[in-house]
Assembly symmetry: C3
Homo-oligomer: 367 residues x 3
Amino acid sequence: MQTLLREIRKTPLLWTLAFVPIVLVAEAVAPHSHTLLFVLAVLAIVPLAALLSHATEAVAAKTGDAVGGLLNATLGNLTELIIAITALRAGQYMLVKASIAGAIVTNAVFMLGACLLLGGLRYHVQEYNRASARLSSGLLLMATVALLAPSAVADLEHLPQGGGILNKLSLGISVLLILAYGLGLLFSLRTHKELFASAGHGDDDKEAHWPIGTAVGTLLVVTVLVALVSEIFVESVQKAAETFGMSPAFVGFIVVSLVGAAAEFAVAFAAARKDRLDMAVSIALGSASQIALFVAPALVLLSYVVGPKPMDLQFWPGAVTMMMIATVTSAFITASGRSAWFVGALMIFIYAVFALTLYVVPPAGQG
Amino acid sequence: MQTLLREIRKTPLLWTLAFVPIVLVAEAVAPHSHTLLFVLAVLAIVPLAALLSHATEAVAAKTGDAVGGLLNATLGNLTELIIAITALRAGQYMLVKASIAGAIVTNAVFMLGACLLLGGLRYHVQEYNRASARLSSGLLLMATVALLAPSAVADLEHLPQGGGILNKLSLGISVLLILAYGLGLLFSLRTHKELFASAGHGDDDKEAHWPIGTAVGTLLVVTVLVALVSEIFVESVQKAAETFGMSPAFVGFIVVSLVGAAAEFAVAFAAARKDRLDMAVSIALGSASQIALFVAPALVLLSYVVGPKPMDLQFWPGAVTMMMIATVTSAFITASGRSAWFVGALMIFIYAVFALTLYVVPPAGQG
Amino acid sequence: MQTLLREIRKTPLLWTLAFVPIVLVAEAVAPHSHTLLFVLAVLAIVPLAALLSHATEAVAAKTGDAVGGLLNATLGNLTELIIAITALRAGQYMLVKASIAGAIVTNAVFMLGACLLLGGLRYHVQEYNRASARLSSGLLLMATVALLAPSAVADLEHLPQGGGILNKLSLGISVLLILAYGLGLLFSLRTHKELFASAGHGDDDKEAHWPIGTAVGTLLVVTVLVALVSEIFVESVQKAAETFGMSPAFVGFIVVSLVGAAAEFAVAFAAARKDRLDMAVSIALGSASQIALFVAPALVLLSYVVGPKPMDLQFWPGAVTMMMIATVTSAFITASGRSAWFVGALMIFIYAVFALTLYVVPPAGQG
């Protein structure tokens, strides 16, 4: 407990944990102040996500390489997963799909671009390991293709009404994706772990000495807190979005992705500014891969348990295009193993153009 | 003749040549047992394709570099070509187009992926010649773009009824593609043959001593046999497909491609397991290029002679997307010159997702 | 003045400057001979574009690195810009958009392909600097994605009538693109100019000794002449196109692009034939980037001042696909840093297929 408190005192970001009780109280006191609740929920989720990420790593550090790697890989996008499950339970499928698509694009374009820009502002030209970047981006490219195949490839407009076919297809593909994810864990944690060596989240010196009890306890408590705050977030976001003129697609794509990945941003940005672009690139692309291979199919499977009706994997056409552009662009950019600030700046411009387009012209279907 | 018999005795696959007379007899005895005829025809085509490939190489070995290379390159996909011509004569254009699209995707994704997986299961990391892989994949990318341009680029929905425009466009593009193919032969067999040196089908020790008479005779006889069995295959496939719940698109895309390329699979897989990934990659990508630059336009031109009406080059949208994804992915994957088993496994997953999608949601148009 | 005359006498291309007075007289004498005027205008624009390019470089050479680089970069596509502005004033938005799309594709596919082919006919294999080619093609890829995002990503079909949203979006994106262009100038002319060193237009020995007065005077006079001839060109092109059976989209995409970039072709082709592929690749890809990041958004902004109504950035779907294919293909082809003649030939085939498709099946909308 003291370790935890010391950690919190050292890290200014964690001071905003104060927003967690505030938002829970505010929900009880003023359940209809949607905009206020939305803002408070965002402010509360960011430090919780950071703490969740620290706790996961602390547990991972104590449980040895194999289980630890598995934990890190599986819980790396836990915040996104919890928010999406909450949205799933509320039947807000457009928000869920937008947050999946947005998480891939935000990780592969914004996070990568910001790392290249931040690193480039400090170092004239940054070199990094091309081979491992190429591996990460190749896996991301293939993961995204597998996820998007039904949306891109199937002649979905001519489907008979009812959509049972689409659900069967999405279920089959989810099983294939999770199978691929399992093989990927085998590959990165066992047979070829040396290829991913530099991709560790580092910071071991800081987390390593959390006692296992504190770590597991923190993990459990914070997971519950994230779930509670996520519920307020998802409830308030629709109404608040209307106030700000945002569509559910924009909120899911941009706001949820940025909020959910805040903890990883912090780690990746710090790495980029220390000229450790290998780690930054690996976090950005690895996180995007994990969304495609694990979070997305897991949500389809979970929708059968917790959702009002099964969710399918059909994304709106613009989301498909953005995900494909994001993965091809990041694959091409990281293939060279060199970077300068303008490359990162251009990626952020692309993200800004995506965001602007999505803000001004939201997708028609709200399914 | 004895050479041929010795060859057959040595190669267990060729024992299944016994299915050739069986399917021909079965067709005469039970012309309405479509499923049985379909299965028998598949079992008969596979060894015939292997024998055709051996005979082509034997003739090529005797006729010197230039003519031999030309023969190898032109007859490399002879089985696919014969099956497609048979379908063309029967007016089954959806089956023909699906088999063109499927051959490109099957070669560039499944065959390449299986090579990387099989090689990767035996060798920890496989290195191969990046420069020649890049050349092959660059040529495939451009060949596919040229083939797909009308489907991808033209505003075909707004075409006036009648479709004469589409046929004129397809004819013009077919002439351009075959011209490009001719220049490609000049390039790979004459001006820059050293770049393709390692791409030879090897096995020279085995075939080289076939007498030229045996080789040419085998080539001719087997071509006639493939044509006969293809007729049974194409006749029975529609009805059999309905029994198995497959659409013509699925049959053309998956079944015909796998059956037609079986002989090349055998050679490429053997090369991959001997750590000769250069050759495996070159066979997979070269075969896909040849479909785009030679087989597809040849079928358009032949449709004016043997088909009930001219065939055009308009593919259904999902096929266009799958071909583009297949070539971009294989280009990206082979650009690194390194591979491990999971890369191959992911490619096979993508192929499985494509197949599943096509099985569950067949394209609407059956044109 | 004498310097200018000597320059003209030395360069056979500039003799065709004689067509400038001829077309101006012809316009006055026979304003309805559209086909004649069109042909004369094309013949007059080509040498004017060459002279404009020389004058720009001469001024740039006198004004020092920073301003000179800025001038070269900004006025590099001045001919295209003037023609497009003339079309804009005439309200021919399809012609303007087609010339933007065509300039990107013509530079990235035809000019690059012709350089690789011309160089490859003289040198067996040409090697060039991969790092700088990769940088150029990465910037082009991202510039094109940013330009195309609204067309590719937005669900434009479901937009409410009126289109005010589309104009707002295009305006916002134009501002972002020009901002990115400004940062790009900062990058290429100041912070990282050493990366672009070999990309200089060379020929310094020839232009360097133009007196500044001659250079600036020529620049101004030729700009006015290009504007005058462009007016005749744009007026006559519609009618002439009908005579030749060309749509406005084809004229803008192919004819305007080839005419407008003729001067750069000359420089790039000369460089390729001297085995200076670095410079040729850099001119081709750099020019395409500049169209996407500067010319296109500048035309949107100018449409508010000179056009009958604001222009948006929505391209017809085929144009989007062609631009994406062009940039991905050129990125992939230049990533290897090696080339032989067939690679260039295939790129020209792709361009021919695009042109044929656009000629036979023009886009439906003429907006």
